[in-house]
């Protein structure tokens, strides 16, 4: 008997039990992996520091939808800041959430399946846009909040967005390919 999978706009934005658990998991992974891997130095590349954890909200967004991506980014960054003792930095939490949300919009085209190169490329494009827009909102909000100049805010965006783009776009396809293999192994691929 063939099983017809529902593909509708409501599925993209649905928040059921599965989405709640993945939201929590994504946030915990983002917070947990940010703490030990943040500021890993790469001396040969100048001031670039590795922040590989940025791939988490991107991955959870493209695989499980924009709501999961938003939550993983926003709450994960919030938890990371709380554990580090910095409190809540509203616009940077929001920016990280928007990063995951925009990446999750790829769900409209891929429905969470990344068995083809086309779908992986779509995920990469949405992730890149998400990083630029999300971190742009966070960085340029500092013009209003902290009265930085446009040049100062741009330098924040270049520093944060540049490293996140490099980290996220390299690790995302690796994670998607391994996820496909793991899901096939457990019979859900």
């Amino acid at each position: 008997m063939a099983v017809t999978e529902e593909r509708s706009a409501s599925k993209v934005w649905r928040v059921g039990v599965r989405q709640v658990v993945y939201m929590a998991l994504g946030a915990a992974l983002y917070a947990g992996l940010t703490l030990p891997t943040n500021l890993l130095p790469v001396p040969s590349a100048g001031n670039v520091s590795l922040r590989p954890a940025i791939v988490i909200p991107l991955f959870f967004g493209v695989v499980f939808g924009p709501v999961v991506g938003f939550f993983a980014g926003a709450i994960g960054n919030t938890i990371s800041d709380l554990i580090s003792g910095y409190g809540i930095v509203w616009f940077w939490e929001l920016g990280n959430g928007i990063l995951g949300l925009i990446a999750g919009l790829a769900f409209y085209w891929t429905w969470g399946y990344y068995r083809s190169t086309r779908n992986i490329v779509i995920a990469e494009i949405f992730s890149a846009v998400g990083i630029v827009v999300g971190l742009g909102i966070a960085a340029y909000s500092d013009i209003w909040v902290y009265k930085l100049s446009v040049a100062g805010a741009t330098s924040e965006l270049v520093a944060a967005g540049g490293t996140d783009l490099v980290n996220g776009l390299i690790l995302l396809p690796i994670l998607l390919v391994v996820y496909n293999a793991a899901m096939r192994r457990v019979g859900r691929g």
Binding site: V17, A31, G32, L33, S44, P52, L82, G85, L175
Partner: protein, 303 residues
């Protein structure tokens, strides 16, 4: 690898505050302080923030790592911003009549190619005052933000956001995130040890920048995929217990005391007052109603 939440259990006025009060205070104070660059208003805000922080009775030894990072960050951002904006960072002030103290030969941005050229970096009373108000703004927001982490138990964040209007599912997801965190850190530590036993050395990654990043995959991928596969059991358990059907109750109940209501009421009233003053300042060119739109340069700095 353990996760150490910064929460310190203590009996202080800030610890006794409802977590909602602390979150609302942080949000409202942030929204008030961004509406002006007046030196005296900023100073009053900083004094209020210092008083609030002092009521948390946090010791320097407990928070020094956090404060060292914050103070370094504030210094770097304000100084770098000053240099990137050629010292002309004042908003809403007539820059043609600055009281220039010193001009430092420097570089600046240009509209035409090559877009960077020689330009004097101006040190004036107005721009130095603005830099001071910027630093005070950063510091005062940090003084409200840091106690949130150190005085609020992690298991109360979910119910806090629920009582602030966040839906049950999202609030429960916040609680579940805190629950997952120690498990993930344990898995991360185990994975790292296992990979090290196979010759993976995170501090000796070879290759260019792209190869280095790709070589981080053995550290991240097993933790992520293992957690997702393991989450199926949790999903099944929650579905069997009819999660999401009907209104959820919480094991922790937050009770607002009179002091919490007074603080929230006063802070929201203060926000409306500041906002009204800010709006009226656009219609009145001088006087008290225009105070938020002037720098209020201190007498000891004024020529």
């Amino acid at each position: 690898m353990l996760i150490n939440f910064p929460y310190i259990s203590r009996d202080t006025p800030v610890h006794r505050l409802n977590p909602r009060t602390k979150v609302v205070l942080l949000l409202v104070f942030s929204l008030c302080i961004v509406q002006t660059s007046n030196f005296w208003v900023m100073l009053v805000g900083l004094l209020i923030a210092f008083f609030y922080y002092s009521q948390a009775h946090l010791k320097w030894s407990e928070t020094q790592r956090t404060w060292k990072f914050i103070l370094t960050f504030i210094t770097i951002v304000t100084v770098v911003n000053y240099f990137l904006s050629d010292g002309a960072v004042v908003q809403g002030v007539d820059l043609s009549h600055q009281h220039v103290l010193y001009n430092l030969p420097f570089l600046g941005f240009r509209r035409q190619f090559p877009y960077i050229g020689p330009a004097p970096l101006i040190f004036s009373i107005e721009s130095i005052t603005f830099m001071l108000t910027q630093a005070m703004r950063f510091l005062s927001i940090a003084l409200f933000a840091v106690p949130v982490s150190y005085t609020t138990p992690p298991d109360q964040f979910g119910v806090t956001f629920r009582s602030l209007g966040l839906p049950d599912k999202f609030s429960y997801a916040i609680d579940l995130s805190f629950r997952f965190l120690p498990t993930i850190m344990r898995d991360f530590s185990t994975t790292l040890d296992a990979q090290r036993a196979r010759g993976f050395e995170i501090d000796k990654l070879r290759g260019g920048i792209f190869a280095k990043i790709a070589r981080l995959a053995p550290m991240i991928v097993p933790v992520v995929i293992g957690s997702i596969v393991g989450a199926e059991d949790i999903i099944s358990a929650m579905e069997l217990r009819c999660f999401g059907v009907g209104k959820r109750t919480w094991i922790t109940e937050l009770h607002a005391r009179p002091i919490d209501r007074v603080i929230i009421t006063l802070s929201i009233a203060g926000f409306f007052a500041i906002t009204l003053l800010n709006i009226l300042g656009n219609y009145y060119g001088s006087g008290f109603l225009h105070v938020l739109h002037v720098q209020g340069i201190p007498g000891f700095l004024a020529p």
